[in-house]
Subunit: 108 residues, 2 copies
DNA sequence: ATTAAATTCGCCTTTGTCGAATAAATAGAA
DNA sequence: TTCTATTTATTCGACAAAGGCGAATTTAAT
C-alpha cells in the first residue's frame, strides 16, 4: 500500500509551501529550499515530490492567473491541506518528545 | 554517491539511540520506536537502518558483555557519534527555522 | 542437542533525484 | 493578423537511496 507518512524531503516541501503561503509553486519552492536549507535540488525533483504530496492529499493545487511577465505556462500554486497540516504538526510533536527524552550525558 | 543526509527513519533511530543512552541495541530500539512513535516496525528494518547509519558514521557500535539471561548472541550496543549529533542538531535547527517562517494565516 | 536471543541476508516498495521532453504564454516579425 | 522564436513552467521516464519484511544464520546458555 502507498505510504501514508512523510519522507524527509516531503516534510521539508510541506514546510516550504506553508512558508511561501500564496506564492508556492515549483520554481519558488526550489529556490526557497536551496536558500533556507542550503541544499541543491533540481526543479524536477521538486515537482515529483509535489505530485506525491498531492496524491497523499497533504497538498492541493490550483492554476494562477496569467502574470504580466515575459511568457511561459501558468504557475501551479500549492497549499497545505488540513491533513497535511496535521501530518506536519504530528511529526514535529513526535520529534520534540524524543529530544526531550535524551539524557544530558548522552551528548557528553 | 551515497547520501550524506538523514532519512526520516534514520533521524528517528538516531534520536532513539540517544534516548536509550547505554542500552541502545536492536530489540530495545525496535520496542522504543513502537512505543514512542506509535509505529510498527520489524527488527530487521531496525538493523538495516542501524547499519546504514554506521556506514555514514553517525553511529558507532561495540559488543556488550555477555548477560546472565537465557542465551543468545551478545548485544551490539550503539552510540551516536559526534558527527551524528551534529547531523541531528542541524536537522532540528533547520526545521525550527522553517516553522518560525510560517505566517499565521497559512493555517487559517 | 535444544532452545533462546540476537544479528545478517536477500528481496521488494517507496522516496529522492535528475535530464530530457513537452506545454503554454508573449513579443515581435512577416 | 498570423506565425514563430523565446521564455517560463510542468510532465515523463529512468535510476539510486532509503524504508521495509520474512527467512536464515549465529552465538550462548541450559
Amino acid at each position: 500500500m502507498k505510504g501514508t507518512n512523510l519522507g524527509e524531503l516531503e516534510e521539508i516541501v510541506l514546510l516550504i509551501v506553508a512558508n511561501l503561503y500564496d506564492m508556492a509553486y515549483g520554481v519558488a519552492i526550489k529556490v526557497e529550499i536551496e536558500e533556507k536549507c542550503g541544499r541543491k535540488i533540481t526543479i524536477s525533483t521538486v515537482h515529483n515530490v509535489l505530485q506525491r504530496l498531492q496524491e497523499k492529499e497533504f497538498l492541493e493545487s490550483r492554476y494562477s492567473e496569467p502574470t504580466k511577465e515575459r511568457g511561459g505556462k501558468r504557475k501551479l500554486l500549492f497549499r497545505v491541506t488540513k491533513s497535511g497540516q496535521e501530518a506536519m504538526v504530528s511529526s514535529r510533536g513526535m520529534r520534540e518528545e524524543l529530544w526531550r527524552g535524551i539524557p544530558e550525558l548522552a551528548f557528553k
